[in-house]
């Protein structure tokens, strides 16, 4: 077989090669389309990540609270619920079922629903990491907070969370890379992200291998960028001489 990378320079409608590979006068080439798809992938992943971190932090903390068994149960139920249903099914639930229960969501674009689905799905995993991060701290840390007369909220804010969050940076790195990979499932509800582009462009151009190679390359580049970024954050957030320092590097 022969390579045909020219396919990326083709206009998506007229199917003729465009000089310079970027569409002119409102036309778009496959390259334009792919880059915009990459943008959608990054947007879905990053927004879902923000949601997952915020929710996961709260839920994970709830699960470690002393003397609040109902909040702990709520947190546990949350994690079990979102962990035991496949992501694709959850996306269909958000897309087809939830709007039927809450009609206000009917006018919300699919993109937002996918961000919600991916964010809630990942929040369960983040919560699990945060919980084990807090529980990995020596019990004396909590007692030290109590001995200083801190309230529970203060103990968490000033003693437990600052250390626990540093411990969870490495597992959160792999969760962040997972969220990029999982964003590919958004193809199922026609969000114009990379996988959707790959499927459609493959069908239109019949140059599947070139298209898939480029898309796969972009996924790998994204994963690598996240990996480096998180390693940077980990180095910057490190408390000299503490646990987080030795957990660096590696995977």
């Amino acid at each position: 077989m022969t390579w045909d990378w020219q396919v990326f320079c083709e206009d998506t409608i007229e199917r003729t090669a465009v000089q310079g590979c970027f569409g002119k006068d409102g036309g778009i080439t496959y390259l334009d389309w792919m880059l915009s798809a990459w943008g959608w992938t990054v947007s879905v992943a990053l927004l879902a990540l923000l949601l997952a971190l915020a929710l996961g932090l709260v839920i994970g903390t709830l699960r470690t609270l002393p003397a609040s068994p109902w909040l702990v149960r709520l947190g546990n139920a949350w994690v079990e619920l979102f962990r035991n249903i496949p992501l694709l099914v959850q996306i269909f639930l958000w897309y087809h079922v939830v709007p039927a229960f809450f009609p206000t969501l009917k006018s919300v674009p699919g993109f937002v629903l996918v961000v919600l689905a991916l964010g809630f799905f990942t929040s369960a995993r983040v919560a699990e990491q945060v919980r084990s991060g807090i529980q990995a701290l020596p019990r004396g840390q909590r007692y030290a907070g109590m001995a200083l007369g801190f309230t529970t909220a203060q103990t968490y804010r000033y003693v437990l969370l600052p250390m626990a969050l540093r411990i969870v940076i490495p597992p959160l790195t792999s969760e962040t890379m997972n969220i990029f990979k999982n964003s590919s499932v958004a193809f199922a509800v026609s969000v114009a992200e990379l996988t959707m582009f790959a499927m459609q462009a493959q069908e239109e151009t019949a140059r599947g291998i070139e298209i898939y190679l480029a898309v796969t390359g972009l996924y790998i580049v994204s994963a690598f960028a996240i990996n480096r970024l998180m390693a940077f954050i980990e180095r910057r957030a490190r408390v000299p001489g503490f646990i987080a320092a030795s957990a660096g590097g590696g995977h």
């Binding site: 079990e80 619920l81 962990r83 035991n84 249903i85 496949p86 992501l87 694709l88 099914v89 959850q90 269909f92 639930l93 087809h96 079922v97 039927a100 229960f101 809450f102 009609p103 890379m177 990029f180 990979k181 999982n182 964003s183 590919s184 499932v185 193809f187 199922a188 996988t195 790959a198 499927m199 493959q202 599947g208 291998i209 898939y212 898309v215 796969t216 996924y219 790998i220 994963a223 690598f224």
Partner: protein, 223 residues
Amino acid sequence: MNLQIDFSFYSWDLISNFVLKGLYFSLMLTAIATLGGVLFGTVLALMRLSGRKWLDLPATIYVNGMRSIPLVMVILWFFLLVPAVIGRPIGAELSAVITFIAFEAAYFSEIMRAGIQSIPRGQVFAGQALGMTYGQNMRLVVLPQAFRNMLPVLLTQTIILFQDTSLVYAIGAYDMLKGFEVAGKNYGRPIEAYLAAAVLYFVICYALSWAVKRLHQRIAIIR
């Protein structure tokens, strides 16, 4: 809240005509991919632990490559490439089986590697001292203990694998989710269909992870 669920949708017909066929495929795919994945995963793990660069390097590239690509893309890749390589079209179902074995091998090999590395060096030395070859040492001393150590992680990965089988949606294979979806379309009841799919996946996965937790408590090696 205007929720109207048509409970008459949930009938034996739904299960026997649509769901069972898909459930059977999902379970078969999970079982075959687990067996094949563990088999090839062990080979990959042994290659990476062999200490020989020409074995280690290709295995490392394969494992890291597979792990950095979304599963949906891998499914699409195989669906495109396998027919091109063997020169004739294959069904979505067979393509899914091949994909999942190849993909899961990468994940299982990481579990295997961690399991093998968790065996104290003294065990290997003891085998060597008894005059065992590398193969005997692995088969009789290291792997049995490693399998026992990693069984809970292995089974947890199998549960994740079962959830991931729903992604064969991308190539239109008929799995459990597809069964519910087809039924929902046929009866014009998509909401009931997706709800039922979610409940069934949840019940299966929750029950399995509970069982894994129990098993873990029973078989943990006490040292």
